[in-house]
């Protein structure tokens, strides 16, 4: 990817990266740190991005960085010093937000990559390094868990 393409690509990815980082880290400050670190890592290893799979590659870097930050934070801070539940939304459905936030991380990430960020199952499979059947399965579990929490059927 050349310089101008990389800049345009990063600019287009940032809003989605920020949302995903926030969903994992539940803090604006940490989500900003994760996005910044992911952009730096991606630049360093940009030759490894496969043509046509750049979006999955970047999201994978972001999720890895977010997970590392989460681990470091847990090691270095007392348990009650960071939020278990993210701040409620200012402009959305609080009940829906809480239902999604309460999903196990392993399901929430797949759910949001698919239904919020519009990634294909093949892309998610590349992001998380799991088979596509696992992606389908996690989506199935996430939808079912969400319906149980919301007490209504959900169409996506």
């Amino acid at each position: 990817m050349d310089e101008s393409a990389y800049v345009a690509f990063c600019e287009s990815m940032m809003p989605g990266m920020y949302r995903m980082a926030y969903s994992i880290l539940r803090s604006r400050h940490d989500a900003e740190d994760a996005v910044q670190q992911a952009l730096l890592n991606a630049w360093k290893y940009r030759d490894r991005a496969r043509a046509g799979a750049e979006r999955a590659w970047m999201m994978r870097i972001l999720i890895n960085v977010s997970r590392d930050l989460n681990r470091k934070r847990r090691r270095s801070l007392p348990a009650d010093s960071f939020p278990d539940v993210a701040a409620p939304p200012t402009d959305g459905d609080t009940g829906l937000y809480e239902a999604i936030d309460e999903l196990p991380d392993i399901l929430r990430t797949v759910f949001l990559l698919k239904y919020m960020e519009g990634m294909t199952e093949k892309e998610i499979s590349a992001v998380l390094h799991v088979p596509q059947t696992s992606v389908k399965n996690r989506l199935f579990r996430a939808r079912r868990a969400l319906q149980d929490k919301l007490k209504e059927e959900v169409a996506l």
Binding site: L39, W43, G92, M116, E153
Partner: protein, 386 residues
């Protein structure tokens, strides 16, 4: 039924601040540049070309003689069940043809009382392509902000790639015939999909398989089911240097059913087992069918195990049971062919497992695999028929 959209989900999360966005913009524009090394192309020898052609001919002839499950099987994955399914599934070969010449054949089916597996083939004009340039009336653009990624193996992918490589404003509309993700009973009950895949063949045919869950209250000896074909339209346009897309599902009146009947197999066995250690008690309940063992292990354990599991990342730093491996006697049979998930609440963890048995169904044991220390054979759960 509640309809959720990507936009509604995005509103749940705070947007980036303008200050942060500007800071990142400065960051990526100021990154140090480096020179890339030119890559050498490898030359292909005549011998290599001939060998590849021979391989292609042989593979094509072999594929034609296999069932669809077997054609989709991955021989390199020891936990792939499709080869086994090909051997035990009933031949259905129920075909329907649409008015415009799309033919769907439900090739094979297997039903164990809890799940239905089918394989299928679709031929005909599965996609029609219309191209244009400029404004498009009525489009509801999706994911404009970072563009659309195209699966190079998808129907019509070449036409979309041509737009991606073309001029600003170029568009292509793909009208497709597809199969719904899940299956249906004839009365309309939806059977949600657990797994499956599709593959586009070089001749334009599409083959696929599905594994769907039958609700417990709808299980029967014989099930009348249907796969449903629907028509959709996907519009892709080059906009601001990226691809944007607008999807439209045609009116449900254009749907078409591909009905089939499947009988429950008789060789299904319920297996249970228990284990108690100083740390936890475990109870396993599984169903063994012709291809796999599916079930759950419920663990009463310390609450910090549950807390660790509910955090996807933290599990790496904590030595708890991560999964279960299936053994037949002393032979390791499967490490799990699908990730069904782990559920935790209070002092209980519930592992949902799906393990290929590959025909080895004697003296089955579930051996716990710990995150750090690996398998603990001394904590195996012996599975016995009920």
């Amino acid at each position: 039924m509640r309809q959720l959209s990507a936009e509604e989900l995005k509103r749940l999360y705070p947007p980036m601040t303008e200050e942060f966005s500007a800071r990142m913009d400065r960051l990526i524009r100021g990154l140090p540049r480096k020179e890339g090394k030119p890559k050498m192309k490898k030359k292909m020898t005549v011998g290599l070309v001939l060998a590849l052609m021979l391989l292609l001919i042989t593979a094509t002839a072999l594929a034609a003689s296999l069932g669809v499950f077997a054609q989709l099987a991955n021989a390199h994955d020891p936990d792939d069940r499709l080869g086994d399914l090909d051997a035990v599934a009933a031949l259905v070969q129920q075909t329907v043809t649409t008015d415009d010449g799309v033919t769907v054949t439900i090739d094979q089916a297997y039903y164990d009382g809890e799940r239905i597996f089918i394989s299928y083939q679709m031929t005909g004009d599965l996609v029609t392509v219309e191209k244009g340039h400029g404004n498009v009336e009525g489009a509801a653009w999706f994911n404009e902000e970072y563009g659309i990624a195209i699966d190079p193996d998808a129907l019509g992918a070449q036409a979309v790639e041509a737009v991606q490589d073309g001029e600003e404003g170029d568009w292509v509309r793909l009208r497709t015939v597809s199969m719904h993700d899940g299956l249906y009973l004839q009365d309309g009950t939806y059977l949600d999909i657990i797994g499956g895949d599709e593959r586009l063949l070089e001749d334009g045919a599409l083959i696929g398989w599905k594994e769907c869950e039958v609700p417990a209250d709808r299980a029967a000896e014989v099930l009348s089911c249907k796969a449903v074909l629907f028509r959709g339209s996907a519009l892709y346009q080059k906009h601001d240097g990226r691809l944007r897309a607008s999807f439209e599902r045609m009116d449900a009146s254009t749907d078409m059913d591909a009905p089939f009947t499947v009988r429950k197999v008789t060789d299904v066995i319920r297996l249970t087992g228990k284990m108690e250690t100083d740390v936890y008690t475990a109870q396993a309940e599984c169903t063994l069918n012709g291809v796999d063992v599916k079930g759950s292990v419920t663990l009463r354990c310390p609450e910090n195990w549950v807390t660790a599991w509910m955090d996807w990342d933290y599990v790496r730093d904590f030595d708890l049971i991560e999964s279960w491996t299936l053994y037949s006697g002393d032979t390791r049979v499967s490490e799990g062919c699908n990730d069904l998930g782990v559920w935790g609440q209070g002092d209980t963890l519930r592992y949902e497992e799906l393990l290929r048995h590959g025909g080895q169904t004697e003296n089955l044991r579930l051996v716990p695999v710990y995150a750090d220390s690996g398998e603990h054979g001394d904590e195996a759960i012996e599975l016995k028929a009920e």
